[in-house]
């Protein structure tokens, strides 16, 4: 009986989430589209960093690339939106493979620094290549129905989570976690670590680029500083780490809570809210190094949990 109730409850929530634009105003729908896009990006970061252990600081590069591919397809070739998104995703995955082959040999800090550089490089390239509209940016056609973006992004997020769940129960998922836990040992088990890392990076790029494509059509205007903004990479990281890196739903929870708090604070404390992210990073690192999902998975939680975290993870 309990189980049935649980499923009924989950089904009601699913229906409520799926039909948000029908009963709520444009403001809430807009807010949720932002949440879902960030959830896709955070989940993308989670694949390469949370599960595979390669902390990319330049995942925004896939977002920007996806945004530009969709924009250029729709402006120049008038391809339908969904088809443009598919082109974006393929471009994102291909780009991840191409840059992944050299840079996934690097570890830890070195990998992080190079990825940071790649985001900046792509921004500079876009500024200087004529067909991308350079610094002036690109304007896209207006969508007839703004609710479209809610449904498309929600479907992409759901597909991503289901896909990731499927991956994690298979060989690639175990390979990724093994690489994160101990790459040398993974090699000794006969795991093709290079292939595992590149596949994980490609999945990350694939979905992050879709988020970029949706964003481009949604905002109707893109330029390099907006879609290659390094702060977005940082936000993906904060959301994932706050929610729980290496957990399936942590990044989604992280994206929701952090965007909600930051929107709320920025309307009420215009200047002070910028301190919020810094403070949150510090607090998360000290008290919740394993993220929110780890707290929720504990049975009974008390001061002991936090004290143990401080003791174990102090520098």
């Amino acid at each position: 009986m309990n189980k049935v109730l649980k499923y009924v409850f989950l089904a009601i929530i699913a229906v409520l989430i799926a039909t948000v634009p029908l009963y709520s105003g444009a403001f809430i729908t807009r807010f949720l589209i932002g949440v879902i896009l960030y959830a896709i990006m955070a989940e993308g970061w989670n694949v390469i960093a949370g599960y595979t252990g390669y902390p990319s600081f330049g995942n925004v590069v896939f977002f920007g690339l996806g945004a530009y591919v969709t924009a250029l397809c729709m402006i120049n070739f008038h391809t339908p939106f969904i088809l443009s998104l598919i082109f974006s995703s393929i471009a994102g995955a291909l780009f991840a493979i191409i840059i992944g082959i050299p840079i996934l040999r690097l570890k830890g800090h070195y990998f992080a620094i190079v990825t940071l550089g790649i985001g900046e490089t792509m921004m500079a390239i876009t500024f200087n290549v004529p067909f991308t509209g350079t610094g002036a940016g690109l304007s896209l056609p207006l969508a007839s129905n703004p609710n479209l973006f809610y449904y498309v992004s929600l479907i992409v997020l759901v597909i991503f989570i289901v896909f990731l769940k499927f991956i994690l129960s298979g060989r690639l998922g175990y390979g990724m976690i093994a690489v994160r836990e101990d790459e040398d040992a993974a090699k000794m088990m006969g795991i093709d670590t290079v292939a595992v890392k590149i596949k994980a990076f490609a999945i990350s790029g694939f979905f992050t680029a879709i988020a970029g494509g949706i964003y481009a059509y949604w905002s109707t205007f893109i330029d390099p500083p907006t879609v290659y903004d390094p702060v977005m990479s940082i936000k993906m990281i904060i959301m994932t780490v706050f929610g729980g890196a290496g957990t399936l739903l942590g990044p989604v929870a992280g994206a929701f809570i952090i965007i909600f708090l930051s929107d709320f604070l920025s309307t009420h404390f215009t200047i002070l809210h910028t301190f919020f992210f810094g403070g949150l990073i510090v607090m998360t690192a000290i008290f919740l190094p394993k993220g929110l999902m780890d707290v929720l998975s504990q049975k009974g939680i008390g001061w002991k949990y936090f004290i143990e975290n401080i003791r174990k993870h102090r520098v």
Binding site: E181, A186, M188, I191
Partner: protein, 249 residues
């Protein structure tokens, strides 16, 4: 008879040189392990024992020489053959690395299962797991614990169990007894015997010469990257040089 045994070499290493970047560690190593044999590799710190095992499994790139598994080259500079680690594992090599290198946040069972990563078959996986648990009842009791939380001896057992999951013909163990209590070492020696009885060849790196020479019939002594002595364990134990250098007699 002599020819017969020659044909059955599990591992043959000839004139192998290897190292990291600019530092050469191994110089013209010659070593062999017969089919079903247990061989020990002894030597002091920095002699190159771990490097040798890592070179055999393919984690360290050799400079020159030959490595053969069952008479098939896995590395040969003259024929420019060098097959990747995963192929070597597939062909029957397995390494228990120094420091064990378990996946700390995974459970014991997940750790052991990953040893069978290349055996893509869930049914045989279960059977193999049962076999390994039979060999390590203590590991079975701990199968749902995170591997990082076990004691050193238990971790070593998990590492060996994991290495056995790929059904190796040649099992290499780097530092069997390092940092473990004597009681645990005795259990591990028993387990090495059991593994050997199933026909698996073993190449065991060991700092404790007494332990090394009690598990293996034959041993090689490595010093600054060169094989300086080799022979039957019995003879080595009686050798005055070994006695003064390693046994303190």
């Amino acid at each position: 008879m002599e020819n017969d045994t020659k044909d059955k070499k599990m591992l043959k290493i000839e004139k192998l040189s290897a190292g990291y970047a600019d530092t050469q560690v191994l110089w013209d190593i010659n070593l062999s392990v017969e089919n079903g044999e247990t061989v020990a590799l002894i030597g002091s710190n920095g002699a190159g024992k771990s490097t040798l095992l890592e070179t055999v499994i393919g984690l360290v790139k050799p400079i020159s020489g030959l490595i053969e598994l069952e008479n098939k080259p896995v590395y040969s500079d003259s024929a420019s053959i060098s097959i990747p680690t995963r192929e070597r594992v597939k062909n029957g090599m397995s390494l228990v690395p120094q420091g064990r290198h378990l996946f700390p946040n995974m459970t014991v069972e997940e750790n052991i299962s990953l040893g069978a990563f290349l055996q893509n078959n869930r049914k045989t996986l279960k059977k193999e797991l049962e076999k390994v648990y039979e060999l390590f009842p203590r590991v079975y009791e701990r199968k749902n614990h995170p591997a990082g939380k076990l004691s050193g001896g238990e971790q070593q057992m998990v590492a060996i169990a994991r290495a056995l999951m790929s059904k190796p013909k040649l099992l290499m163990i780097d530092e069997l007894s390092l940092g473990l209590a004597p009681v645990i070492v005795d259990i591990l020696i028993e387990i090495i015997y059991d593994i050997s009885k199933t026909g698996t060849s073993l190449l065991v790196v060991e700092q404790d010469v007494q332990v090394a020479l009690s598990v293996a019939k034959r041993a090689y002594v490595l010093e600054t990257g060169k094989v300086v002595m080799q022979g039957k364990s019995k003879d080595l134990l009686d050798d005055p040089q070994i006695q003064s250098a390693y046994l303190g007699i």
